[in-house]
């Protein structure tokens, strides 16, 4: 299982940290003439005015590198019944710009060139605003929202309602 994706675990309730509620997102980026994508969960809004979101990405991951390089990222919100989509992006996905799909899923280029999955419920595109200093094995990236779209208003996927967990203490 790659570093930035949820791990399957049988007992998610033995640790208070695992009781934190998170959504499930496919983060996408465009950098170095390639498209990149991976499923993530540590995401929160952190400001209303201006609208800022935080994503926590494993510090030395490819994903963190391509966001830094491209200075932009998109968050694709998955629907409650799209576990199969999330699963496809548990590994770091990187494809040439000419690719017609990402892991078989159609996309359209966003205004900031990030690929937006047409299967997703909704998307946000962000400009990397800051990467504040913080200790830990994940780096915090703050994005200012530059674009948004809703495709359908179904229930989003919550990490709670999946067989996966990403949080608490890593079991490796």
């Amino acid at each position: 299982m790659p570093d930035d994706s949820p791990v399957i675990t049988s007992d998610v309730r033995n640790d208070a940290l695992r009781l934190l509620s998170n959504g499930v997102f496919v983060l996408t980026a465009c950098a170095g003439d390639r498209l990149h994508a991976a499923t993530i969960s540590w995401v929160s809004q952190v400001s209303i005015q201006p609208p800022l979101v935080l994503v926590a990405l494993r510090r030395n991951s490819h994903l963190a590198q391509v966001v830094r390089q491209g200075r932009r990222f998109a968050l694709n919100i998955l629907a409650a019944d799209q576990a199969k989509v999330a699963e496809k992006f548990f590994g770091f996905v990187s494809e040439p710009l000419t690719t017609e799909t990402l892991m078989g899923f159609a996309y359209r280029a966003g205004p900031g060139r990030c690929p937006l999955l047409t299967e997703g419920l909704a998307w946000l595109e962000c400009r990397l605003d800051a990467e504040p200093q913080a200790p830990g094995d994940h780096t915090l990236m703050l994005g200012e929202v530059t674009g948004a779209g809703v495709r359908r208003a179904d229930a989003p996927m919550v990490l709670w309602n999946t067989p996966w967990s990403y949080g608490g203490v890593r079991e490796s």
Partner: protein, 161 residues
């Protein structure tokens, strides 16, 4: 600039829990319901909590560097709702919710289904209207085993967007 209404709608599709943050300042204990929380590191165990700048809880955490984050259970919407509003604390309860003070001075509510006692290690968020507190988890407890946390989505409330 993105359309504000659409941005708000998408931001409100994010998933959050409901939490009660509590800290002790010069004027005594202070608590508030919050929802912008995520884990931020496995090793060390860090969480990020974003608190609106200028609020009592934000200023108290900035000063004390210590806080407790309580998990609100799926059947405890009233606990969260009560602490949306600022209320005057007494030495061992806020709005009728009893707490005990841990060795660090942090108040921990009896009713919470679980809690994390945290120490701030970094502050961020200069560009926004909330301060981001990155905090290490000093200790934690589950007071109600097998309880489900309350999801913001399953309440009539919104925060953010």
């Amino acid at each position: 600039m993105p359309d504000k209404d659409i941005t708000r709608e998408v931001l409100r599709m994010f998933s959050y829990g409901l939490y009660v943050a509590a800290s002790t300042g010069p004027e005594g204990p202070c608590a508030a319901t919050v929802s912008w929380v995520t884990q931020a590191s496995f090793d060390p165990r860090l969480i990020m909590v974003a608190l609106r700048k200028g609020t009592a809880i934000c200023e108290t955490v900035r000063a004390s560097r210590l806080f407790a984050l309580h998990l609100v259970g799926s059947d405890q919407a009233e606990f969260a709702k009560t602490l949306f509003k600022i209320s005057r604390p007494s030495p061992d309860e806020i709005a009728g919710y009893h707490f005990s003070i841990r060795g660090t001075g942090v108040p921990v509510f009896d009713v919470a289904l679980a809690w994390l006692e945290c120490e701030v290690v970094e502050e961020a968020g200069r560009d926004g209207d909330h301060t981001l507190f990155v905090a290490t988890v000093l200790s934690s407890g589950i007071q109600t085993p097998n309880a489900l946390p309350l999801a913001l989505r399953s309440t009539p409330w919104h925060y953010g967007g």
